[in-house]
Subunit: 117 residues, 2 copies
Amino acid sequence: MPSRMVVARELGEIFKIIAHPDRIRLIEELRGEEKDVNTLAESLGLPGPRVSQHLSLLRAHRIVDERRDGRHHYYHLIQPEIADWIVDGLSFIEGKLAGISTSNIKAVRRLWASDAP
Amino acid sequence: MPSRMVVARELGEIFKIIAHPDRIRLIEELRGEEKDVNTLAESLGLPGPRVSQHLSLLRAHRIVDERRDGRHHYYHLIQPEIADWIVDGLSFIEGKLAGISTSNIKAVRRLWASDAP
DNA sequence: AATAAATCTGCGAAACTATGCAGATATGCA
DNA sequence: TGCATATCTGCATAGTTTCGCAGATTTATT
């Protein structure tokens, strides 16, 4: 079995997991610090169950992991570099982001790291 | 409208476009040189129409572009760096690739660049 | 003009994903 | 124990993507 096929299948898998705006925002929210489900649900303005489902998908694919403390479940990135890798993908979006110079990825990283609207 | 939402939506879009094994292989095939539809269909072992459909999706999202010469349509990557970025994603696949040390991404790049099975 | 090669387009069936909601667990506190 | 909080699970519906095939285009050749 051609290993390029296997590699392509695995890569396709991970791209598919990440390919959802909510999950991307979750990953970016977890950049740098762990957070619990409720906090995440509130910052993203999404219903709790939905966040929970996204998180368990991310967990099944070992993108995040969970730490329980009482009734809170804190999630964190297993490999924090993934947050940067995702944002790097912006280089390949052609001028679709009015107001954000597509060549300046660092600006977007800062945007995500900051508390700006 | 929070710009992080917009950014996440655009990123999700591009991830979704790439998130298919055939399209990933197409992009990797186009690493370094343009190729026509038939050549691509043969190397991937896929029916022509399917390759054509994948390519037009990639084209609609400005990942590839086309040059026509007679009845041949040659496709090439608009931003060749995308091929490397995609392969970088391998860092985030946890031990799913038996036989390929996940930490050694360069080996996989070589695999893709070479003609090995 | 007729034919062949290369590629594209359209369409229905099957497979997959997302969403919203209701109810199940599990934990902490009075 | 009983109640509130935090999170998870399951399910039905709606929506999207993929796939295979048939037919339409376009260009080169005879």
